[in-house]
Amino acid sequence: MNKTDNTAPSTETTSGVGMIRMNDVSKWYGDFQVLINCTTKVDVGEVVVICGPSGSGKSTLIKVINGLEPFQEGEITFDGISVGDQATNLPKLRSRIGMVFQNFELFPHITIIDNINLAQLKVLGRDQDEATKRSMELLERVGLIDQMDKFPAQLSGGQQQRVAIARGLAMDPAAMLFDEPTSALDPEMINEVLDVMTELALEGMTMMVVTHEMGFARRVAHRVVFMDEGRIEEDCSKDEFFSGERGERAQEFLSKILTH
């Protein structure tokens, strides 16, 4: 329905360079296989939406990319660096990938500005002034500059999530990963977070977004990945995905969430 939405970025990305590449990745939790031969790729500047039923492995797929969870088979590279390689400096790699969680996960014991400063100081080695300057720019951008001295628990969910996005951006990441960033939010707060994400996408940030917000997917995604029971069942352009040329499981899933 929204095919002619002219705010949508071009489906053609400028470069075909894979920022994130997953090749035949499998992961087990004990005997249970969570990811089954997953292969996909995210190009520079590309926005990929991941959806699928609960328990299908979406969060796990996101978490193996920056090595928060180990995987047993296959290969993942981020900007050419192998994630699974023993020799890879994972903290350094992670510092180049912003990550936003369903439950915000701000550090509760420090103020908003310190939350955004922390990794800049301890990981990037920026000095206090430099870090604070960058943090304030980002808080300005997400509209929360007046909240900088509060603690996370004093903010609403939507505000906390915007801070979490700023915390990720403060590292000047090469890509951002989002795991259901709006599903813990009250409906009236969803848009304030989606707006920030949309803006990011339009600026050309490389993004992987687990979400069931199909409006967001229609507006900004280039590609949609559909997962089911640990498998990547569909991996196609947004237009293809929404046009009906998709498998039975995806169709079933879509009709379920769209009627909600």
Binding site: M99, K122, M171
Partner: protein
């Protein structure tokens, strides 16, 4: 039988005549001195309990492997499953399970042997099982052997309790917080230093307070190996003067006083470190 007792508080303040020593300080001074030793034992033991206990607690939360690189000189050695053979003559050994196991065994042992038995083990048994020189050193050359033995004993015992509190504090922090801290690029040490521990210590202020009070009260067991702390001094006054009630009342009041002060201070500390806007920390 009717209870009759001659209260005489002045006994605490009059000068003591001792047949052998001659004139010594008033009993009151004995109480002050004993109280001083109690404080000295408890606070030194707390330093050990808090720092060593924190390490034990942290070790018990290690889950991810820590690889230690060990160069191999000769033919490939057959290590157990926790070793991975890497290239160019280096074997990687996961020492996390070893550290974790050590801490678990430590806690099990130190928490489950009665403190009095531990006191005797340190004081009477240890010098015998050590080498002759070491045993001699402990008994003869170590200054204040009773004092240091009771400090170490109380410290290591209480460390097992502090360790459990620290472990519980860290474990009550959600997995999501671990992920978030790692995701911004903090190393494992930094994750503990800047995220997990600051939150965990805030959560465990109440159990730490009770562990500190425990060490203070348990310090009275040091009298069994000859430390003249408050309880020992009190008994001594009782033996000299037969004014049992006065001496034990004085000791009781001092114990309660310290407990009250500690609880008051810790309540302020708890308020200071509490996180604005948070009702309960660490709830999953």
């Amino acid at each position: 039988m009717e209870f009759s007792y001659n209260w005489d508080w002045s006994v605490l303040f009059c000068t003591v005549q001792d047949v052998k020593i001659g004139c010594v300080a008033p009993y009151f001074y004995w109480i002050v001195e004993g109280f001083g030793w109690t404080i000295a034992v408890a606070s030194a033991a707390w330093v050990i309990a808090f720092s060593w206990g924190s390490i034990i607690g942290i070790l018990r939360t290690l889950e991810d492997p820590i690889w230690l690189r060990i160069p191999v000189v000769k033919s490939p050695v057959n290590f157990n499953t926790s070793a991975i053979e890497a290239d160019n003559g280096v074997v990687l050994i996961n020492i996390a399970w070893f550290l974790h196991g050590f801490a678990t065994i430590y806690v099990t042992i130190f928490r489950n042997i009665p403190l009095l038995v531990q006191m005797f083990l340190w004081y009477f048994v240890l010098p015998e099982v050590l080498s002759k020189e070491a045993g001699m050193w402990l008994k003869r050359e170590l200054p204040l052997p009773e004092y240091w033995t009771s400090v170490v004993c109380l410290g290591l015992y209480t460390a097992s309790r502090v360790g459990e509190a620290v472990r519980a504090g860290i474990n009550s922090i959600t997995q999501g917080q671990h992920y978030a801290a790692m995701a911004v690029g903090l190393t494992r040490v930094q994750v503990y230093r800047y995220v997990l521990l600051p939150v965990a210590y805030r959560i465990i202020v109440p159990p730490l307070t009770s562990d500190f009070l425990g060490i203070f009260k348990n310090s009275s067991l040091a009298l069994t190996i000859g430390v003249l702390e408050l309880t020992a001094m009190t008994r001594q006054i009782d033996e000299y003067s037969y004014q049992t009630f006065e001496s034990f009342t004085a000791a009781t009041v001092l114990y309660i006083l310290v407990t009250a002060i500690v609880m008051f201070v810790m309540r302020i500390v708890e308020g200071r470190v509490s996180i604005p806007g948070m009702i309960s920390l660490g709830a999953k």
